[in-house]
Every structure is written in C-alpha cells, then in structure tokens.
C-alpha cells in the first residue's frame, strides 16, 4: 500500500498562512458584529428622538439570567431590554442562519423566552408585556423568515409578539448602522415604524458601541481575545519608560484577576447584579494567556499569575497575522517533530494535516 499524505505539514506555505489569517479575521468579524448587533438593538429600543437620547429609566443587560414561572430551568437570553416598567424585549442573537435546521433551532431558542420571565428591573421582577426578537445579519434574514414560517406551519406558535430584526452597515458614501424589521413587529409603534423603514443608529452611538463593547455571552475566537489583550490591555500594564530602551527586555508580573478587571472595566461588565454574567469570562482570559505562554510571550507563575513579556513590535504589522503565523509555526513544529520521531522509529505518518484548532500549546 502506498503511503498517502493529505497535505505536507512541513510546507509552511504562504497559502496556508493566508487562509488561516482570512479564516480568523472572518471569525473575529462575525463575533464583533454580533456584539455590536445586540448593543445596537438595545440602544434602538431605548432611543427617543425628542428629547434626543436614551429613554430615562430604560435598562438593558447583555445577557441576563432569568427564571421562568412554572419552569425550574433558568434561561439566559442574549439581550434583555426594559423599555418601560410595563414593557420589555427579550432578544436572541443568531448572526448567521445557514440552513433550515439552524433556523429551526433559533426559533426553539426564542420560544424558551416565550414565558413569564422573572428577573426584570421591576419591583416584582416581572414584566406584563414582552416582545420576542430574533436578531440576525441581513444576509441571513430571509432564511430566518423562511425558518420561522416553517416552524409556525409545523404547529408551533409564539404567545408573545415576535419579530425578526436584521442588522448591517449600509454600503455607500456614508456607512450607517441600520436595523430593520423584516418579519413580525415590536409592540412599540414608534420603534416599529422606524424599524420597518430601517432604523439608522446615530453615528456617535455606533462609535460608543464599537469603542466600549468587545465581548458578549458567547466565547470569542481565541485570537480575538489575544488581539484585545495585546492591543488595549497588556501594553498599558508597562510604564512608558519601559518602552524607551529598545534593547531592554521587560516583564510584568500580573494576576489573572488584574487583567480580567481591566477588560471588564473597558469592554465588559463589572456589575454586582447576580443576574448579569461575568463578561468576559475568566477562562477566556486564561486561555489567551496560556496561548501567549505557548508563543513565549508569557510565563506561567504560581497562584494564578503570569509574567507578561512586553511586545515591542509585531512582524507583518498586524496582530491577527502575527498570532496566526506563530500558531501555524507551533503546529508545524509539532508536526515536524512527529514526522521526525516517526522516521526514527521507522514508521510512516499517514493522512497528516496541520492542527487547525486554536487550542494553546502545552
């Protein structure tokens, strides 16, 4: 039998790297646009034109742990918006709905919130009037609508008002962030009319969302967390003086909590409300720090501490590309070692391909 190699792991081609970079950028973009989508819809629901600004007393949470009356299992919708003391919206984000199966699952998920939810910011924690919303990217909006119609035809129903709202940046000289209702309706007639035509979020609100929100309840792609840490958090852990001497190698001893607290303060939650999830989660941060250990950008210390190496530059001038390159090099190195070990023992390695997972090196 001839040995077959699906691909040569030692061929560190530009193509493999470019593909990895493209894939990771796509994942990060998907994640960030989902983050932006939930916050944008919340702002849209709470916005008043006169006087211009968010509605006084309105609140929202991304996500929020709620109990269901008569059901022991709690739910955690991606977004809960209390527009008024007697009206709220519960929303689920599904940026991509790739097929009918995914559409059906999205409907089932939203159906879980079609109940008397407990956990609102009211005296009795209940809400008399609730809308259900499925948030999706405009490219998936038609599939979402088809899925809902099929789901309803199959005998299912929503007891509460339900709507599909798509989000997107418009493509033109001005890139507006637009939310549009493409199925159903929300109960607030003013908000619904705006959504019906496509509600454009004010630019300064879009800027705030992008500046202040980098995470939501779903685990981010590993490289996204690594980029956020190495762009906005770790560099500022070092004093400005440390950057003066180009030849000096600087390390900074930090606890995971110190890094996590800064992330929460700048881009996530730091709320004492027990219904709000920790965003970002601790394990996401340690995963990224462990990845830095694998890249020799950090060392693991006892007691949940790490020594972080100050990066002075990134080759290829782009951190996504930089980390992809390091990861591929690491997995190619493992593959090369595996091949070399196999050769030494006289065995062939069959059908081997470079590891594509984002798991950190040991």
């Amino acid at each position: 039998m001839r040995a077959r190699f699906r691909s040569n792991p030692l061929a560190k081609t530009d193509e493999a790297l470019d593909n990895k970079i493209k894939k990771e950028r796509g994942l990060i973009d998907d994640y960030l646009s989902s983050v932006q989508g939930v916050h944008a819809f919340a702002k849209s629901a709470l916005w008043l034109d006169n006087p211009r600004g968010p509605r006084a007393g309105g609140k929202y949470s991304v996500p929020r742990k709620m109990e269901r009356d008569g059901n022991p299992d709690p739910v955690t919708p991606d977004l809960v918006v209390q527009v008024k003391p007697d009206y709220g919206i519960v929303a689920e984000m599904k940026k991509h709905i790739r097929d009918a199966d995914a559409g059906e699952k999205a409907c089932d998920q939203v159906k879980k919130y079609d109940a008397d939810l407990i956990g609102w910011w009211t005296e009795n924690e209940r809400m008399p009037n609730t809308d259900l919303v499925l948030l999706t990217h405009y490219m998936s909006s038609t599939r979402a609508k088809d899925a809902v119609e099929a789901w309803l035809k199959a005998g299912n129903k929503f007891d509460r008002p339900f709507a599909i709202v798509e989000f997107n940046f418009s493509d033109g000289g001005q890139r507006w962030y637009v939310l549009k209702c493409t199925y159903g309706a929300v109960s607030d007639p003013v908000h619904h009319e705006k959504l019906r035509h496509g509600n454009r979020l004010p630019d300064d609100e879009v800027v705030k969302i992008i500046a202040d929100h980098k995470f939501y309840d779903t685990e981010p792609p590993l490289i996204h967390m690594m980029v956020v840490l190495q762009t906005h958090i770790i560099p500022s852990l070092f004093e400005v003086d440390a950057y003066e001497d180009k030849k000096r190698v600087s390390w900074r001893d930090v606890s995971v909590d110190e890094v996590l607290d800064r992330l929460k303060a700048d881009f996530g939650h730091n709320s004492p409300d027990h219904r709000e999830r920790e965003i970002p989660k601790r394990k996401w941060v340690t995963k990224a720090l462990d990845a830095f250990v694998g890249m020799r950008l950090a060392k693991r210390l006892p007691d949940d501490r790490y020594a972080l190496l100050m990066m002075k530059k990134a080759d290829r001038k782009d951190l996504v590309a930089h980390f992809c390159k390091k990861m591929l090099a690491k997995s190619s190195g493992r593959a090369a070692k595996a091949q070399s070990d196999a050769k030494a023992t006289g065995q062939q390695t069959l059908l081997f391909k470079p590891a594509e997972s984002e798991e950190p090196a040991e």
């Binding site: 973009d29 960030l32 211009r52 033109g172 000289g173 992008i210 500046a211 762009t231 560099p235």
Partner: protein
C-alpha cells in the same frame, strides 16, 4: 560685522536665559550682527523644559545648560554627526510663553544641520518628550492673515510655497507628491491656488515691508517653526502669541482622551475631518490601511475592511493604543483606549496628514 558688536549680540542672546519679552529684541540683535536668519521652534512640554532638558542623557550629545527660574533656559549642544563626520556645536535659548504655559519657543541662529542633529534631538531626548506640533494649511493661513492685518505690515507677498498633493498614478510606489514653487502672490491668491490644486502646504515664505521702511521676510513651516530674516517687524511678537495659542489648542484637543484620564473610565473619541470625499472607494481605504501600516513602531490590525474600515493600533513608542473607524468618506473617527498619549495621537495625525490627506482635528459631534 564689527567683531565687538557680534560678540555683544551673541552674549546678549545666549549668555543669560532671557525673558519672553526680551526675546524679539535679542533675535533682532542676532539678525543684525551675527547671522542672516534665526529659527524659532514652538514645542509643547508638559513639564518645564528647564527641568526636562537638564535630565537628558545621550552617548552622542553633550548638553550644558543654564536656566533662570523655571521659565527660560540657555544651552550649548555638541552632537556627534553620523558617518564619522565629526561633531557639530551650537547654542540655543528656550523661553516659556507667559500665557500659554505649555508652549516653549526654542530659538537659535545656528545652521539647519545643528537644528536637525543637535537641537531637535535634544528636545526628543527630554522626558517627558517635547512635542513638535503640526499645523494644518488652514492654521498657517490664519496665522499669516492675522500677521498681515497688523498695522506694521504692508506689501505682503508670498515668495515661496512648499506643498504636498496626492499622487494618482498606476504603478507608482508613492501616494504623495511634494513640490515647491517660487512665486509672487498675495496671501489670498497663494492659498486659493493651494486649494484649487487640492494640495496642502508644508511651508510658506513671505516678504513684507515692516514699519513702512524696511523689507523683511519670514517662513512658517507646518512643523510650527518660524524662520526670521532681516529686520523684525513689531508684529512678530503678535505672531509668536498667535502661534503659541494655536499650538496649545492643538495639544489640548488631543490631551486627556484616554480612559486613564477619565474618572468614569470613558474614552473621548475625536474626528479627523478631510472636508471632501477621500474614503469612498476600496482603493482609497486600502491606501489609508497602507499609511497606518507604515507608521514606524506601530502595529495596525485590520478588523473590518469594507464597507466600513475598522482597525486597532498599538504604538510601541509608549504602549498607547487606539482604534480607527471610517464610517464616512469624509472623516475618520479615532477611538482612544486605555492609554492614548498626545504623542501617539499626534504621530497618527501627522502620518495621516503627511501621507494620506491633510485634515482638521475636531471633536466627535453628537448625532
């Protein structure tokens, strides 16, 4: 020039740190007896230069200073030239502006090479760093318009203009073209020509009659440097004051925008307004991306390219970070993050203005 008068003029300028009000007369003395020109560089320093310059250390540069209180300093610099060309030496004075206290006027009559290899490097060694402001074409125009309105100034003509413009040529490795023209235009005509040809100014040299009697000349560069020749008009102190005001306002616009500066941990975004469509095509956005990648010592991670542009930038000069957003073809939004120093933000603005397109820094408007 009689040696004695030359010595007197030099001693008057450099022996003792002068006051701000003494500076114009001392500059005139140097122009009359010592040299054909003097340059006055405006810099911003968050700590007094009298303190920060004393602490400078370098293998290449020897610096001796003498200061008078906290508001003025005089010094001698000896700098080793690259390429084994020996050393260059010279003197300077630095005086704090009395009203705009972050602004310092650093004056010398020495050669361009001394200014570049000695003085500018010493200022760069100061900690915290002295910032070299960058003026827009509009700012230069306003400064010169105010200068022209002074009663002491007549017959003002623009004699030389340095410009930059976008280069649109397939196959060209460069995106910016520089040019210089020798001319004889009124101020209004000169700036109109710059605008009509979609250029931006790097420097302007003007000639004028001072006091109705003598011809004088000066050059303003976008690096906030004024080079004076011949006879100083009474309007020059006013020009210094206006320049100091512009420079301090520019610093204030970029200062304190990061999260660290805010009690509520909020960053304050700002806009770079271009006043025309410069980001409407993928090619133009690609050029912006390339310009950001070319900023030395910076990593620029593109998070989204089309239809809107979003990038995250780390400046390894001091660990600053910020994000760039292009939501509109006519402006960029800059989102400072946890640490975004004035130095880092200025490096960004300078790179964008020099290699992409000139713009104006403005507050992020509501709505």
């Amino acid at each position: 020039m009689p040696p004695k008068q030359r010595e007197i003029a030099e001693a008057a300028m450099y022996a003792q740190p002068p006051t701000y009000s003494e500076l114009p007369n001392l500059l005139q003395g140097v122009l009359t007896f010592v040299a054909h020109r003097v340059s006055v560089q405006f810099v911003v320093s968050e700590e007094p230069l009298t303190k920060t310059l004393r602490g400078t250390k370098s293998d290449r540069i020897k610096l001796d200073t003498r200061s008078s209180g906290e508001t003025s300093i005089t010094g001698t610099i000896s700098a080793r030239l690259p390429g084994n060309r020996g050393r260059i030496s010279g003197r300077f004075v630095a005086v704090q502006h009395p009203k705009h206290s972050l602004v310092w006027l650093v004056a010398t009559h020495e050669s361009t090479e001394f200014v570049k290899r000695g003085l500018d490097e010493v200022l760069d060694l100061a900690r915290p760093r002295a910032l070299f402001p960058v003026l827009s074409t509009g700012a230069i125009e306003t400064l010169l318009e105010k200068f022209e309105k002074h009663s002491d100034v007549t017959d003002l003509r623009v004699k030389q203009v340095g410009v930059r413009t976008m280069l649109s040529s397939k196959g060209s490795g460069r995106s910016i073209e520089t040019g210089r023209r020798w001319t004889n235009l009124s101020l209004k005509e000169a700036f109109q020509a710059i605008r009509e040809e979609d250029q931006w100014a790097t420097d302007l040299t003007i000639q004028y009659t001072a006091g109705g009697m003598w011809t004088s000349s000066l050059k303003i560069s976008r690096r906030a440097r004024i080079t004076l020749r011949k006879n100083l008009s009474n309007s020059v102190p006013g020009l210094f004051d206006h320049m100091a005001s512009v420079v301090q306002k520019r610093f204030a616009l970029l200062n304190g925008r990061d999260r660290q500066a805010s009690v509520l941990n909020e960053a304050r975004p700002f806009q770079i307004q271009f006043g025309r469509s410069v980001l409407s095509t993928p090619a133009e956005v690609g050029r912006l991306r390339d310009v950001l990648h070319e900023i030395p010592n910076v990593s620029c991670t593109v998070l989204h390219g089309n239809p809107y542009f979003h990038a995250a930038v780390v400046d390894y000069t001091d660990g600053s970070s910020y994000e760039i957003l292009a939501l509109d073809a006519e402006y960029l939004t800059v989102l400072p993050q946890r640490r975004s120093t004035v130095l880092a933000l200025q490096r960004l603005c300078e790179s964008v203005f020099a290699r992409f397109h000139e713009g104006e820094i403005q507050e992020q408007p509501a709505g």
